[in-house]
Structures are given as C-alpha cells and as structure tokens.
Symmetry: C2
Subunit: 478 residues, 2 copies
C-alpha cells in the first residue's frame, strides 16, 4: 500500500518476530536476570508490609448485609462475597452451594513495552498483594480495578495508567478481556493489555525493565511472577522461534509448535470447542450467603465443616507502597496446594498440549479450555477411582524424567490468600496420552493457543499461566 | 507437509476460494433462481398451515407459574417467558422491566453443502414457522432446538441432523455459537454450522440445492430467506472476489473489502471493542414476571399500556410439514416495522461499514457489534433529538440514490410474531459519515467482520443478517 492511503494492513507482520526476539533474549539492557531476585528482596525489605488475620467484626467499611448475609463494602464498590447455587449434569458433584466473589467492574492488567537496544522490554512492577505467600511479586505495569483507578479509596494515582486508558498514547499490541478463576469469581474478567511506547520513560523505583526472555527465566522460580503478569504475558502474539537453536529436542518441538501445522486444523478445534460448550451444562444462580447449605459463618471465617475447597477470611493490611497504606478486606483462602498441569506430546516433532474443556460455575460462557489437570488433589481424596479427575494420578506419580517444567505460583493475591499451585508441564509416555483422548480433551499446538488468547473466554486463567510458562521455556533459544 | 504426517495445515487454504466461487455463481446446478419462488409457493399451497391467536388459557401444557407468574411448558423444556430488571449507565432509558424469553438449551442451525458440478451448493429447506408473516420461508438444512432433536414433543425425527451431531459424517467448514436478539432473549445462543458432505444425498421434497449466489439473489426479496439461514450464511469464511468483475463501483469496493487493508488494523478494532465492553455497563437481573412494573397481563396478551416495544401473545398452530402437526405456544410480538441499517463509506476504494457497539440486556457478554442503526423508529417518537438513536434520521430521510440494498426480512418465526425489519445498506454523502465517528461507532471492513464471526459474541444477529445481505450483493460478480 502506498504512503498516501488511509488503509493499513490488518496485521503488523513484524510484531510477532519482535516479540519472539524479546522472548529469546535473556540479557536485559537494564538489569540482569541474576540481579533481579536481589532487587525484589531489597524492595521487600524496604517496606513494612504486614498482613494479619482479623475477625469479620474488625473489617472497616465491610459488613454482612442484614438480610442477605452477603459481605460487602459500604461504598457498593470493589467486590462482594455472595452465595452461588450450582447444578450440573455431569461429574461426581451435581449440585452444590458455595460463596463466590462478585466483581462486576472490569479492571486493567497492562504491560508497557519499549524497545531498548533493539529489543522489546517490559516495564514490570514489584507489587505487594496481601494474599501472596511472600507478599511482594513481579506484576504488570498496571494492575488496577476500576475502583482503584477511579480512586474510590482516595489513595494515590495509579502510575502509567494513562497509557492504557488513552488511545494513542502508545501502540496497542494486545487488548482482550480474559476471565479469571471460575471456581471463586462470578463472571469476573479483566482487560489484558500490552502497549508499546516510544516515549522516554523514567521508571519509578518500584519498576524495572525486563525482556520477555528474562521474565521467562523468572517463571522457573517459585512465587516470583504474579498471576496478573502471567495472564498478560500469555496474550502476547509471539511469533516463530527457530527450533534449530533450541537446547534440547523438547524445546525444539515447543519452538515448532508456535507456527507449524497441527493434529487438528483450527476449524476442527473451534468445532470441538463449540460442541463442548453446547454439551456441558452448568446452571449457576446467585443466592444469599445467609443460610448457605454446607457452609458455616464463624467469627473469623466462613467454611465447610469438612474443611474442603476454601474458606472466606478477613485480613488487615499495612503497606508502604500501595495506593493507600492501610486497609482491611476479605479474602478467599483455598485449602491445599493445587496441581495445574499440561500433559504434552510430540506429534511429528511438533509439541501438542492436551487441553480440557472445563465448565466452571463462575464462567461467563460456561466452558473454557483449561489445563489437562487443574485441581487441589485433597478435595478429591474420598472419590472412587472413576470419579477422580482424569490424568491426576498420572501427574501425581509422574517420573521426574518426564517433568519438563515445574514451579509453584500464586493466584491473584488481591483476592486470594495463599492460593498456590504447582504448575507443571509433563511429557509422559505416549501410551498414557493417546492421540484420541477421552471426551472433553483435545490436542492443540501452542500456536493455536496463541491465536485463541486474542479472544475472550477461550483459555482459562490457569491455562494462560501455563502458556506463559511454556513460552518462557523458549528463553535463551539462540 | 508430506503424506505421512499426522499434521494438517491449520487452515484449509482452498476453502475461501471455493465459497467465493459459490457466492458468485447464480446458476444453480439443480434449480434456477427464477424457478425458486414458484417452488416455495407450491410448498406453501400444498400444506394447510394455520396460525390463530388464542387466549393464554387455551395454551396446551403451557401455563403461568402460580408464584412467579412466569410462562412455562410443563415439561420444563423449550423456553420460559420471565421478567427482567435492567439498569444501565447511559442512554435515555436507564432502568426498565420487561418480559424476556429464557431458553437455556443450545440449538443447531446447520447448512449442509455439497459440490455439484464443481460448485458448492447449500441444502436449504422450505420451513413453516408460526411467527413468519408468510409462514413458509427458506431455512437452513437443520434448525432444531435441543428439545426438538431429543424429541420432547414426540414428533418426527429432524432430517439430516446426524451430519451435525456426529463428527466425521462431513467436513466442518464453520461451527460457532452465536447470540440471538438481546432485547428479547436472555443469553440465548445457537450453534451455527456449515458442514460439507461428499455423500450422495437425495433431498427430501421440502429441500432444494442452491448456490450461495442464488441465496444472495433471494435475499433481495422480502421475507423469503429466514433469519436462521441468514445468520448461518454470515458465518461462511468466504474468500476474495475479483473486484474487476463487479457490475458497479460500489460492488467493486465491496469485493475489495473482503481481503484488503482496513482503516484500522485488527488489533485496533479488538482494542476498541474491548474498551467498549469494559465501558458499557448493563445489569440485567431475572425477576418474576408476576407484578412486572409497566406491564399488564390480559387474557390474550401481556403488554404495556403505552403500546410500545412488544407484547407476549399465544397462538395455536396447524402444520402439515413440521415434526408435530398441531401445537400451541407463546410468541413475542414486536410492535412496528424495524429499521436495520449499515451505513457504509468507500475508503480508498475499499468499502467500510460503520458498526455500533451495542449493549443489549440479554447478551451473554453485555456488548456486541450491531448495525449502525437498529431500532423500531416508533419506540423513539417522543424522545428529544439528542436522545434519538444516532443516524436514525439520516436513514429515515435517505435519498433513494444512496440506498444500495433494501429488503424486508423477518426475525426467528419460532419465537417472534411478525417481527419484521427493513434491512438496508446505505452509502450517504461522506460528510454525513465522518472517518472519525461518534463514540461507540467504528469503521470495519467486510473481511474484518468475516474474521470476527468465526468467534462467539462479537457480531449480533441483526448485523450478521446484514453481512449475509452484503455478501449476497456479490452474487453474479463474474
């Protein structure tokens, strides 16, 4: 197209390669990966963070509604904890009640990127969240609810927010509403954005520039890269990586998986997914939390007498670097370490991931693609073998030689307390992961996942986290 | 890729061209377009269809629930008519109550295609629906709710259904869940499918083979191609059409719009759409229909004293060619002829369509892309100019020389009685449709729309109908 036309190519053909270049780059122009843990520790020590469990009665401006028993903030903003009545037509549990977080407003999770020394770098933040086991983790440039950025809590302004709210301040590379945990949130979604700037930006002290490859390396460390960063990174439309430069055959197969053919063409994948959405039926009705069957409200928690799943608790928070320095809030505290695993298989040299169509009660559209295995094993201890989550025992008993990736990561620390999972990528014997998998499972390439995450409600937050980890394994591939 | 690999290319690169070939073909191998109206009339006359309005008290197996006042079938299947309480933050109407159809189950709208004489033909059905003004219209091969095809009404089997339910009976060309009217349905979606077969199929007498181009020609006729056919046709991934063979410059610009560049790259379109979804807030709570404010239940209808919007009525139906030959059911009857219009503009020779991000109360995801104008003008008569729908007066007063397409089409005749709209494509003076449109509007190409309809909840049913009409204008372009 000539210079004088108003028209643009529909896609930026250079972008996937530029992002791939950042992914393979493990030497940052600003900070080395080796120096990063020290930098994060210095931030942790420089601030006096403190999180204490408190009784619900000590929550400030949060209270149980006298009629419904729902837990809400007296501004009507932030979120509420309500009841949900769920019925499904499949699985060992066909009907249950549970508390759920209702957060109607859409927040922004945004990463600002900038080319430094010819390589795209991400502006990442050391951010405290009360629910994280180690409090401070690496988060996106901006991580803000609408209540945050419209200043309901009258705190400090959100830094760099203007790049995400004002079209034209930068070039948008990705911008998609993505769901979050359907087991704990009712129809929650956040805007996942990546915006490239050319402006000179002097990072505030809590921020640092890292390449995608450096963040990929950090994803191997436990509890360093937070969930919000992982989900945004998964949405980057990263292009081809040269498999000939991979350090081992698995990584070469992973590199090929970004842009090769697939066991199933895209239209078959979409058709299978559509059939799963039409087939799996979940009815979720919001109900008052007062008198919720199987749940008991105590002074410090709302929990089940059998101590399964999770409980609702309250904390008080003191923080030096957040918009307001002291607050109280409810959190959901899952009980037990989760397992979040991709089973993979090389098919004609191209890595494929076994995705599961998961119906979660809080999803907007009932079904999304999740990891092969996603559960807290302890919640399923008393089930007969045929009702246990498919492939769970395979993951729990996996030979270490089949583990290609393993790290413990936390879920959203602003809503969940110590919600940690072991994120794993495994490559079992081919006998154990057949080409024709059980109903509800489907083999896809990493390239196919990358296409799907451009759109809402296809890939759930746990699978996006694992996709970020998979991508991160390509760091240093040259 | 070699013959021995398990891998497939992610996309079938020949398919878009084959569909484009069917679109430009106006000579069918089986029936000429000229003969079609006579064929449809003969079917109309051969059957004794009859639809009569009845009081709610004469509905068979349908009744108002004694507590909620909701209207439901005693099988618990099909659909219910319930109440909805809607609040929004924008527009002249910020809060209202209305009846709404709740139909949780996902149906199938499927078109079977087959290459005949080297050109893809669609197997279309002459189907009676009680709400259509002329009862019999051209419909997809299969148009069935789950209650239909699981035989809740104990009627005859749905012909050709097996091609859509059994993977492998044909090659899936498109398969996507699409929303339907958000003003009248609560979170309704249907599976829109196109499946290609190689089997020899002897069409039953109510079915005929037509090219996409023939159906395109029929879309110029009032009330011939039903809504279900239009929405499925819109999902066909049709490829490039040669603009040099177009019969006029508008059609040439339309042909270019299928695969040229665009005013906005795709990522800008997605980013604008994401921002609109995050910005526009609609809260819709299901409430009992009993005592619904502003609505009165009489013996024959539920309506508003001001006679606006729609009413709920009941009919008895006698039909010779449906799965069961006699039944009663409720219908929603909109009041007044709607206007459904695309405003278009050639930008550097490429046709662009002005889409509106519309929040409709019944949408699953709050906002979808709709036509530039979509309303029943009479519902807005008493509004001050600033509150009238944008561009409505431009459409109503359009110079006939700017009208590129015009036909009256009906909405789903199985749920709506005489729900008809004037579907229009206009090309006003460029002054009236600026490149930088008002908030909530965005210029897109037909190629961009075609990419979006591969995925759920982007393009609403009225815009999909108009997209089918636009595509149909390319019929005969060679």
């Amino acid at each position: 197209m000539s210079q004088n036309t108003l028209l643009h190519p529909r896609a930026d053909l250079e972008l996937p390669g530029r992002l791939a270049g950042s992914l393979t780059a493990t030497r940052g122009a600003v900070m080395s990966t080796e120096d990063f843990p020290g930098w994060l520790d210095r931030h942790r020590q420089a601030h006096s963070f403190r999180v204490d469990r408190i009784p619900f009665g000590e929550l400030d401006r949060w209270s149980f509604h006298p009629d419904t028993g729902n837990l809400l903030h007296d501004s009507g903003r932030f979120f509420t904890v309500e009841g949900l009545h769920v019925t499904t037509e499949a699985g060992p549990h066909r009907e249950w009640y549970q508390p759920i977080i209702k957060q109607a407003e859409v927040g922004i999770l945004g990463i600002l990127v900038k080319e430094i020394g010819g390589v795209l770098h991400c502006l990442m933040q050391a951010k405290m969240e009360p629910g994280n086991p180690n409090l401070l983790q690496l988060s996106p440039t901006v991580q803000a609810t609408r209540s945050n950025y419209t200043r309901v809590h009258e705190g400090a302004a959100v830094r760099y927010l203007e790049y995400f709210l004002q079209p034209g301040r930068g070039k948008v590379l990705a911008d998609v509403l993505q769901s979050e945990h359907g087991a704990w949130f009712h129809r929650k979604s956040n805007r996942n954005m990546i915006v490239e700037v050319e402006d000179d930006i002097a990072p505030h002290g809590d921020f640092c520039w890292l390449t995608l490859g450096q963040i990929g390396e950090l994803l191997h460390l436990d509890n360093v890269v937070n969930m919000d960063a992982r989900t945004v990174l998964a949405c980057a439309p990263i292009g081809a990586v040269d498999p000939d430069r991979a350090r081992d055959p698995f990584v070469a197969a992973l590199a090929r998986s970004r842009n090769a053919g697939a066991l199933h063409p895209d239209v078959e994948l979409l058709s299978w997914f559509t059939a799963e959405r039409a087939r799996q039926s979940v009815r979720a009705e919001r109900v008052p939390m007062a008198g919720l069957p199987s749940w008991v409200r105590g002074t410090h928690s709302i929990d089940r007498p059998d101590s399964r799943f999770f409980r609702v608790v309250a904390v008080s928070v003191q923080a030096g670097s957040r918009e307001v320095s002291r607050w109280t809030q409810p959190l959901i505290e899952p009980l037990g370490l989760g397992i979040t695993a991709f089973l993979t298989r090389r098919i004609d040299g191209v890595l494929h991931v076994l995705m599961r169509a998961r119906a979660e009660a809080g999803f907007q559209d009932a079904v999304e693609l999740g990891p092969t295995v996603q559960c807290v094993p302890g919640n399923h201890d008393d089930l007969p073998p045929e009702d246990r989550p498919a492939f769970l025992d395979l993951v729990l008993s996996a030979d270490p030689s089949t583990v290609r990736f393993e790290a413990v990561h936390s879920e959203e620390g602003g809503r969940f307390l110590n919600a940690v999972s072991r994120y794993m990528v495994l490559e079992p014997d081919e006998d154990e992961v057949p080409l024709d998998p059980p109903p509800g499972f489907f083999w896809v390439t990493v390239g196919q996942l990358t296409s799907l995450v451009c759109h809402s409600n296809y890939v759930n937050v746990q699978a996006r986290s694992l996709l970020a980890c998979l991508n991160g394994m390509l760091a240093g591939t040259r």
